[in-house]
Amino acid sequence: MQTTILYIGRDPEITIVMNRLLNARPEWKGICVCTDEEAILVFKKEAVDLVLLGNGINQECEQALRSELEAIKPDVKIIQHYGGGSGLLYGEIMSAL
């Protein structure tokens, strides 16, 4: 069974890398977006298991995004992704799930 992971980050280059990394594992399905509007659309449409907040999301946007996502599906974990690459990704996801 695949785990669907939504990544939101502002840097397009990092978003491409995250998309590649998340979808390189057959047990994960990664959906990576740069805007909060796209994130909310995906979150409503897909059965997302975990949300990773990536780079460049300021505190105000993060609070608004967390509130909106929690209002839609309160049981889905939202965690900060640090590092923008493969180094911490597996550990972060394994710890969260």
Partner: protein, 239 residues
Amino acid sequence: MSQFILYKENTRGHANHGWLDAHHSFSFANYYNPERMHFGVLRVLNDDLIDGGMGFGAHPHDNMEIITIPLAGAIAHQDSMGNTAEIKAGEIQVMSAGTGVSHSEFNALPDVQLNLLQIWLFPNKKNVTPRYDQRALDVTARQNNFQQILSPNSEDDNVWIHQDAWFSLGKFDEGFETEYKIKKEGNGVYAFVISGEVTINGQTLSRRDAIGIWDTDGINFKAISADAEVLLMDVPMEL
């Protein structure tokens, strides 16, 4: 009452990729150990051996303070901020990834193995402007002394980062004893033995062993062997 945890050399994660032989003190890449996720804000300590001419191609990072200490050999660095540099043993490199930076790190020498410590700390502020720095360290200043090589203060000697962390390197004669005082209340110390044998708070540590100590205001140190070399990382324990 101080608390501690031992991290013996042979309990580190290990990944041999041929050109890269890496030992991970904390969970990293495919090495996942829920008991080894971080020590306070210290999240990554990788001890990498990299073959001549080989290295990490351009790849991005964000929101992490990345410190590289070459122990042997030299690193060829390039990044998206326009920096091109070589960092040799006896120097230190720092990069605040902040909103995002892309970099490559290669063994600068074709036929000499590169050994480096790569250390990542969680930053105390997210989405900072990326920055890069490197400094040559006065290696004579660390003989029988914990020489500060990193701090949160840009006015200090050597390098600074976006975190209330202080790093010190020391090289000691056999039998030399000293104390180290924590720089900030609430911080802990992660001591990593680069070479030789030492005791810290009565615990005997050999090459590449480590001890993490917290709820303390300092540590007691003694070198058991000649040329014992230790890296101290004084870091906030609260994430």
